[in-house]
Subunit: 202 residues, 2 copies
DNA sequence: GCCATTGTATAGCGATCGTTATGAAACCTG
DNA sequence: CAGGTTTCATAACGATCGCTATACAATGGC
């Protein structure tokens, strides 16, 4: 209806946020300076603070953006699978591809972006840890669901199994950061699926 | 023979280094400031620079110290085991204990201390990555050895298997940092051993 | 005691950190 | 055009970064 008064923003906010995601993904929260962020976005500090608040809020928004772009594959694959076993299997193979995909940093941003922090930014650390624990809870829920339907033995250790696959996922991320290629990560995924509990039904 | 001239050092160099290990272990290389290091050591900056050179060299020395103290268990356990399977098994259980041991930060310093780095300290990142790859090479060597003696099938994928266990170890470290306790990590270890290739001999 | 040597504390170096005050520039409404 | 509003670039804020020049304290050898 009414045109917004004032000078219009001179840059694409979402495009700038996509650059920010790549910066935080590659160097992590604290090791990424506001100067490098503004350089990557092609803007000056006041524009960043006017559009995003501060570095802390910008990181949260970058994580949210990461979750609905690069990170969306994980959730999609898990919910699309017909059972827990195939959910975990397709997840691991999808991550083997995603973690080594060219065009962005290797590994998972949620796992790597806030590992080394001063005491001043433990809040950021906790934010990512919460996302990791939520992901683990999703995996655990699918496992529990299959134990109630009988697809998995009733005495299946859902906590242990979920923690195991969470660990495998995090290990694959670290291996990807260290330069391991997709084919090797897929062999890791294949090995990781060999310890799936013997089911009593299909 | 001749007594060293000059004022003697007023602090225990090794004790100070042990404090440094804990600081770098907890916060990582870049997130640990010289000010926090000197505070932990109970000395002033000039004493640090006189005794250790600079922050970069101090970190290398701290990593070396970590390797012969906390990190020594891994190598000991691997070489002491009679075969590759029991080497990996005892390694995983030893790490489940070590990563959650009270009195020091959780997880592995070699895995966590240089994840988030600016471009200025990629050298440090590479130093730790080299140690991780050397560890993986040790695991791979034990696996290859068992394929030649027939304890493991001749067509065993040594690279894939070594990468898999390296990933499990790194995942266990991340889980420990996220607060998982020893018992749960041991269940992860047990699961991780279930995919060991079927041997043809004892 | 005196000298040479080495370690320590004080204080501050230049650089960079995250953040912001200031004023000019670019828009909409009349 | 003028008035109101928002964004922009310039420049700088105080704080902290890794590091060090300077001066003093503490030792062994003479």
């Amino acid at each position: 209806m009414s045109g917004t008064p004032g000078r219009p923003r001179g840059f694409d906010r979402e495009a700038a946020l996509d650059r920010v995601v790549l910066e935080f993904w590659q160097h992590g929260y604290e090791a990424t300076s506001v100067a490098s962020l503004t350089a990557a976005m092609g803007i000056k500090p006041p524009s960043l603070y006017a559009a995003f608040g501060d570095k802390r809020k910008l990181f949260s928004e970058a994580i949210r953006r990461y979750g609905v772009t690069y990170g969306a594959v994980a959730g999609d694959v898990i919910t699309a699978a017909p059972d827990a076993r195939r959910a975990m299997e397709s997840l691991l193979y999808a991550l083997a591809a995603a973690y080594t995909e060219p065009g962005h940093p290797p590994g998972c941003m949620v796992i790597t972006a806030a590992v080394n922090c001063t005491s001043a930014s433990e809040e950021v650390k906790a934010e990512l840890r919460a996302i990791r624990e939520a992901s683990k809870a999703v995996m655990r829920a699918r496992i529990v669901a299959d134990t109630t339907t009988g697809r998995l033995p009733a005495d299946t250790d859902a906590d242990g199994l979920a923690t195991y696959y969470a660990a495998v996922v995090q290990g694959m991320s670290t291996q990807a950061v260290d330069g391991v290629d997709r084919a090797t990560l897929e062999r890791v995924a294949a090995l990781a699926m060999r310890c799936w509990p013997q089911g009593t039904a299909t």
